[in-house]
Symmetry: C2
Subunit: 113 residues, 2 copies
């Protein structure tokens, strides 16, 4: 199977089905350290990344933003001194789409750079 | 009186006094649109800025991060599609210092650019 990080986001239409519970159980273990959060009934993928200072936090934020523009899929990024919290979900369907898992995997790749 | 945006942050020592309630009542009206929030007993200054797209949100985030490094005082910045939420408080004293008001005023200047 093609790894998540090797896939591209596809256009997500409002009538697209969110990731099923069965797919969720299969996909989540592929992502190390990502938590499933639910806010106002909307499932989200979230992970906190640690850095030794603000400059490195901000550099990572910048890389995630570039990924977001390249994939045309945009997360919430919380930048603080020494840590960045990235949250992926799909606004169009108010939940999780395969795009979110692809982007989470690619976010991990950026953190390794 | 020197305007907030014209002042520089000073070093804030752990035994520095937080802004008094009287000063809070005087300073807050100088900042248009900034809300006083209290989280886990810690007072914070917060404002949401709107932008027409992600690129402009991210450009603003970058400018706020540059201000943070220049003042050696670092806010939480939440970057999302079309909006950026900036939260200033002083970790050293778990509350609000005059530095936070100075940086909030300077953040407003960045949003006007």
């Amino acid at each position: 199977m093609t790894q998540l990080k090797q896939q591209q986001c596809t256009v997500c239409r409002p009538d697209a089905a969110p990731v099923s519970d069965a797919d969720l159980d299969r996909l989540l273990p592929e992502l190390a350290g990502w938590q499933l959060e639910e806010r106002d009934g909307v499932k989200q993928l979230e992970k906190q990344f640690r850095f030794p200072n603000y400059a490195q936090s901000m550099a990572f934020t910048q890389r995630v933003a570039e990924l977001a523009e390249a994939e045309d899929h945009h997360p919430a990024i919380l930048t603080e001194w020494g840590r960045v919290t990235v949250t992926w979900w799909t606004h169009t369907i108010n939940g999780l789409h395969i795009n979110d898992f692809i982007c989470a995997a690619k976010t991990d790749q950026l953190a390794e750079q």
